[in-house]
Each structure stands twice: as C-alpha cells, then as structure tokens.
C-alpha cells in the first residue's frame, strides 16, 4: 500500500512538473528558433532594465545589482550598473571601454580572445539566437508557462570548467531574452532578469561614447 501511494505521488508530481515544463517536439523547436530569429532580425535598437542576482552557496544573502542595457544595431552595446555602484562597459567599433566609478579604460577587442568572447556574449544577450550555440552546448527546449526555456549544457572542455548549465528564458510574446541563469560547477549561480524591454525605440548615440 505504502509503495502504491509513493508511486501515485511520484506520478502526480511528474504530471505537475510536466504542466510547468512541457518538453517540445522538433517542429515546435524549429518554430521557436524561427520566432527568436525573426524577433531579433528586425531589431535596430533595444533598451532594457536589468537586475542581477549572484548566489553563493556559503552566503545567506545574495549579491544584488541592477542597471540598464542599451543596444544599437549592429554591435553597439552599453551595459550599465547603477546599483550598488556606478559601473559601465561599452562595446563600440571593435573597442571596449570601461568606466568604473570614474576610473576609465579603453581596450582594442583584437588584443584578447577573452574580450572578443565577452563582446559576443553581450551581443548574444540582445540577439538571443546568437547564444544558442549548438557546437559548444547540448540544448534542450521546453515551454514554461507562457515562456520558453532553453537549457544549455556545455560540451566544450573550456566552458565545462566554468559553467555547469545556462538557462535562457525567452518571452512567449516578444521572443526576446528575458532571463539568463548561469550555474557554475559548484552550483553557485548568476541570474540576470530583463524588464521594461523597449524594442526599436530611439537610443541616443551619446550612450556609446567613450566618456
């Protein structure tokens, strides 16, 4: 009897979890990728607020920061933290500019592979399809509520050292990237959530000046 109850409980939870995370078939996945691609294909600019939560297992409280993201086609990005302190990084014209509370630094992206990768990741957060890299990750897709979840597990050796899994959540209506959760091998994670996303609204060029 006890066994039967636990069996039913298991099935019940399986159904419940199935309701929350419906696995998608190949046709649905293809359709989702098309939707993500077309949502970003005509993207000329994007502004968004974001909050970042860093969870470290040994700490009771997470480290929270927030700020604004600006993008202008094809590759201008300003990633700006306003809390808990002012810090921003701009990618423009193959260069990176950092302003850390008044301390400024400009670097050519060609000087380091790491910086090129960083710039790619930043652009990928705007152009969601760019981060769905099936050469370096095994990706599974599911529907969660109204949104879509892509779970990326690295197959690449270097990535495996730093990343256990990346969860990307795409908005079910706009197909823009809504959440990125990067889990480290130690299970510490970083969660970035975008809100108030404005697609193709005017973004001042001054946002991308190195000053």
């Amino acid at each position: 009897m006890k066994n039967l109850i636990s069996k039913y409980t298991f099935v019940f939870f399986l159904i419940l979890s199935g309701l929350n995370f419906a696995q998608m078939n190949s046709t649905e996945i293809k359709k989702l990728k098309e939707n993500i691609n077309s949502a970003t294909a005509n993207l000329t600019s994007l502004q968004s607020d974001f909050t970042q939560t860093k969870h470290l297992d040994f700490m009771e409280n997470d480290v929270k920061s927030s700020g604004k993201l600006y993008f202008k086609s094809k590759s201008k990005i300003r990633w700006e933290y306003t809390s808990p302190f002012h810090y921003y990084v701009i990618f423009n014209n193959e260069k990176m500019f950092v302003n850390d509370n008044g301390k400024k630094k400009e670097t050519e992206l060609s000087s380091s592979k790491l910086l090129k990768d960083l710039s790619k990741i930043m652009l990928g957060t705007v152009n969601g399809s760019g981060v769905l890299d099936e050469t370096k990750f095994k990706i599974s897709y599911s529907k969660t509520g109204n949104d879509y979840l892509a779970k990326m597990v690295p197959t690449d050796k270097t990535y495996k050292k730093y990343i256990k899994q990346i969860d990307l959540t795409f908005d079910g209506k706009s197909f823009l990237l809504k959440k990125i959760k990067t889990t480290e091998p130690t299970l510490d994670y970083t969660l970035i959530e975008f809100t108030n996303q404005k697609k193709n609204s005017a973004v001042d060029d001054a946002k991308f000046l190195f000053k």
Binding site: N61, D100, E184
Partner: protein, 206 residues
C-alpha cells in the same frame, strides 16, 4: 638667511618615525596583557564590499563578499561586476585555504599578499602586550602577529581606530581606516614601497 632648524628637526624626526629603524622607538610604552577585537568585527556576520585594486598602473575592480564562519574563520569570494567568480578562499587563524581561483590569480605572490592583508583586517581576539603613546596617537601592539612581525593598532585622539600596521623594523603593510555612516569603515591597504593599493568599502552587511 635664517636657517629653519626647528622645521628641519621636525622633518627629520617625522622621517625617522615613519621609517622607524625599530618601529616604536622613542615612544612612551606600557606593558599590558589584554585581548582586542576591532569594533567593525564585533557584530559582523556577512557583507559585500566594493573592491578596487591599483597595481603597477593597472586598475581592477569587483565585489568582495565575506562571511564569518567562526571566530577567526572567515570565507571570502571575489566576483567581477558581471557575477563571474574569480577567487574563493577561507582564512582560518590567519592562514589562507584556497577553494577556487581563476588561472590568472592562482599565483603564490598574489595569494600570500591577500593572506597577509585579510589577516590584518579580519582577526579577532588578538593578544595585546604593549601600548605606546606618541603625540596625540596611541599604538597597541599585538606581538608576533605574522612570523616575527608585529601588528599595531593606531588610535587617534578620539580613540577611533585609525590605522592597522604590520611592521618589524619598517612598515610592511599599512591599512588606513576611514569612518563613514556604516559600522564598517572604508579601508585603504598600502604595501610599503610596492605600488599596489587595495580599497574596500562596504556595500551591504548583516
């Protein structure tokens, strides 16, 4: 021309004191047997700090988190602004135990420096065996804090902890404290003649 003998003597004296062939020579001293924990550690359980490092004309920054696990056992992690973890270590009775470091930071010279710097800041129940008075300042000595080097707590005329110094004959590490609205002061860590400075200020605490 009148020679400014007094000024020169004062300057000479300041140089002598700051370079200190024996660190506390010329100070009036008193032998004591006490224990001391800096005020900012008394109720500390965990916190996050903005950390900036100026080294050889380079600037690095990020967030440092710290948690007290037990008396004289703390755990720290250094993360960059984007949340990437660069370093994770513990300090157990002044000794560093490394949990994780990115390749670029996994160097003995860097880890030894951090071990010393953080031991100076995050050390509780320290033995004090001598107190010195000098002009408006008071120095408390914790003997043989690291090897044969002593630690000195320097207080200003209002009894505020003003500086923490690691010295034998000369200052090896000096930490300037700047009080603010938090219980936790801001810190500026200097390393003698080495052009490496570390700045820490509290963002959140519990």
């Amino acid at each position: 021309m009148k020679f400014p003998v007094f000024q020169i003597l004062t300057l000479f004296f300041i140089i002598l004191v700051s370079s200190c062939s024996t660190y506390t020579k010329n100070f009036v001293s008193e032998q004591v047997n006490e224990r001391f924990t800096p005020h900012y550690l008394e109720d500390f359980s965990e916190g996050s700090f903005k950390i900036s490092i100026e080294a050889f004309d380079n600037h690095f920054g990020g967030i440092l988190v710290a948690k007290k696990l037990e008396t004289n056992h703390f755990r720290f992690a250094f993360i960059n602004e984007f949340g990437g973890k660069l370093l994770d270590f513990e300090l157990i009775d002044k000794e560093l135990k490394l949990n994780y470091a990115i390749e670029q930071l996994d160097r003995k010279i860097i880890l030894n420096m951090l071990e010393k710097d953080f031991a100076l800041l995050f050390s509780e129940d320290n033995k004090i065996d001598e107190k010195f008075s000098f002009e408006n300042s008071i120095l408390w000595k914790s003997p043989s804090f690291i090897g044969t080097k002593n630690l000195y707590y320097e207080f200003d005329s209002d009894d505020n902890l003003d500086k923490i110094i690691l010295a034998k004959n000369k200052e090896k590490v000096s930490i300037k404290l700047k009080t603010n609205e938090n219980n936790f002061p801001e810190f500026e860590i200097s390393h003698g003649k080495l052009p490496i400075k570390i700045y820490l200020h509290l963002l959140n605490s519990n």
